[in-house]
């Protein structure tokens, strides 16, 4: 994720979507990278902002879909 948005503090931010830190382009880039890295395809019904508000939430989603 640092490769996509090096300016974002992914370790501490918990409102990545709600505070508008990540936009839709960033989310799509992250989804694509997750597919490449983990073979996990995040589909449209998982596009809940809550799933992308923090690195921890994204990791939980990956674990759930694995």
């Amino acid at each position: 994720m640092k490769g996509i948005r090096p300016d974002v503090d992914f370790e501490n931010e918990t409102e990545l979507i709600d505070d508008g830190i990540l936009d839709s382009f960033d989310v799509v880039s992250i989804i694509s990278e997750i597919d490449d890295a983990f073979g996990v395809q995040i589909r449209i019904n998982e596009l809940d902002p809550e799933n992308f508000n923090s690195a921890e939430a994204i990791w939980s989603l990956i674990q759930k879909l694995k």
Binding site: V28, D35, D36, L47
Partner: protein
């Protein structure tokens, strides 16, 4: 599975036309801000696009392309057995634009003419439909029109769409031959669960007189019900997963792979999507021509625009193997393969001609004696 294989049918030529008016993406900086526009250009690759005049339509552009292509091939309109207009930008709510083009070109009454209501997948599905018609009839030539003027329905303050779309009309001539090697293959899929991802909600018969009040939408863009809506993240998600799967399935069906094609004429959705598709399918990006930078996302015409851009200027009389792929509104997606001689790929034309006979601004024009 909707996999099609047509023998003895070839792509005899392609041509396209764009409007003369070029809009630089940078010109949107006073509206959307420098940062937003710079990020948009980096992500989508769209640095300029061409836009129609108020009453200029996709069929006007296709007409010019068809005239040039038929003249190049030495084929008379009387020889056309089928005319399909595959687009979401008809001249009228009814009748089909195919009839307007038939009349304007002088295609005979014996021809079958109708519209196919599709956007970004219109080339692949249009080819599949035209080849199906030709395979089961005695006709020799079919003329397929594709393209859109999507910019006309975009709210100018919608940052997700205002800078993305270019406008173009393209035409493909299909010919029935005696040659065994002339083949067209197509794999087509549809996913209606995504019908709201790209939509103009008003103006159809569900809500014919929809409100034209401007509403600030949840994604921060202003639109009316008569404007185009794109749910970008949903569309992205569909394209980066489902399109690579379609391409790999097409290769499996045809026992081919990325090394078997000279050119990947893919729908120019946006640069990021095309890079992702190429990465996930291992398509060499140098064989996937990009025209987004100069023409934007030209919907169903974009694959032909790219072919014309790369091969239109040359005349080296070389046969190339093309894989085309279209995907988008519907959701509709498809892949096809065909061969074409590069001499039958015309250069991109610029045209602003309007079919004045078709412009009806007063009902009583319909009652005027000829």
């Amino acid at each position: 599975m909707a996999f099609f294989e047509f023998n003895h049918i070839k792509v005899a030529g392609v041509a396209c036309a764009v409007p003369k008016n070029e809009v630089k993406t940078e010109s949107y900086k006073p509206v959307f801000g420098d940062e937003e526009v710079d990020k948009f250009m980096a992500m989508t690759g769209v640095k300029a696009s061409h836009r129609t005049l108020e009453h200029q339509t996709c069929s006007d552009l296709g007409y010019r392309a068809a005239c040039e292509l038929l003249a190049h091939k030495g084929i008379k309109p009387e020889e056309i057995g089928a005319l399909l207009f595959s687009s979401h930008s008809p001249d009228y709510r009814r009748p089909s634009t195919a009839f307007v083009l038939q009349h304007r070109l002088g295609v005979p009454e014996e021809a079958v003419c109708y519209d196919i209501s599709l956007g970004c997948s219109s080339l692949v599905v249009g080819m599949q439909t035209m080849a199906s018609i030709m395979s089961t009839s005695d006709m020799k030539y079919g003329l397929l029109f594709v393209g859109d003027t999507a910019g006309k329905s975009v709210n100018p303050h919608d940052r997700s769409s205002a800078m993305l779309f270019g406008e173009a009309g393209a035409v493909m001539l299909l010919e029935k031959t005696q040659n065994e090697a002339d083949q067209i293959k197509a794999l087509v899929r549809s996913d209606g669960s995504g019908f709201k991802y790209m939509i103009i909600p008003g103006g159809g018969y569900r809500n014919l007189h929809a409100s034209e009040e401007v509403v600030m939408c949840a994604d921060g863009n202003e639109r009316t019900l008569m404007n185009s809506f794109i749910q970008g993240t949903s569309v992205f998600t569909f394209t980066i997963f489902d399109v690579p799967r379609l391409i790999k399935d097409f290769w499996k069906q045809t026992a081919t792979g990325p090394d078997d094609y000279d050119c990947f004429a893919f729908h120019q959705a946006n640069l990021y999507i095309l890079k992702q598709i190429a990465k996930k399918t291992k398509i060499p990006f140098e064989r996937l021509p990009i025209t987004l930078d100069r023409y934007g996302n030209t919907s169903g015409a974009s694959a032909i625009v790219s072919l014309c851009d790369v091969y239109g200027a040359g005349n080296d009389n070389k046969t190339i193997k093309v894989m085309a792929c279209g995907f988008g509104i519907g959701i509709s997606l498809g892949a096809t393969s065909f061969e074409i001689n590069t001499d039958d790929i015309l250069p991109i034309m610029e045209d602003d001609e309007i079919y004045t006979e078709g412009l009806i601004t007063n009902p009583n024009q319909l009652y005027e004696k000829k």
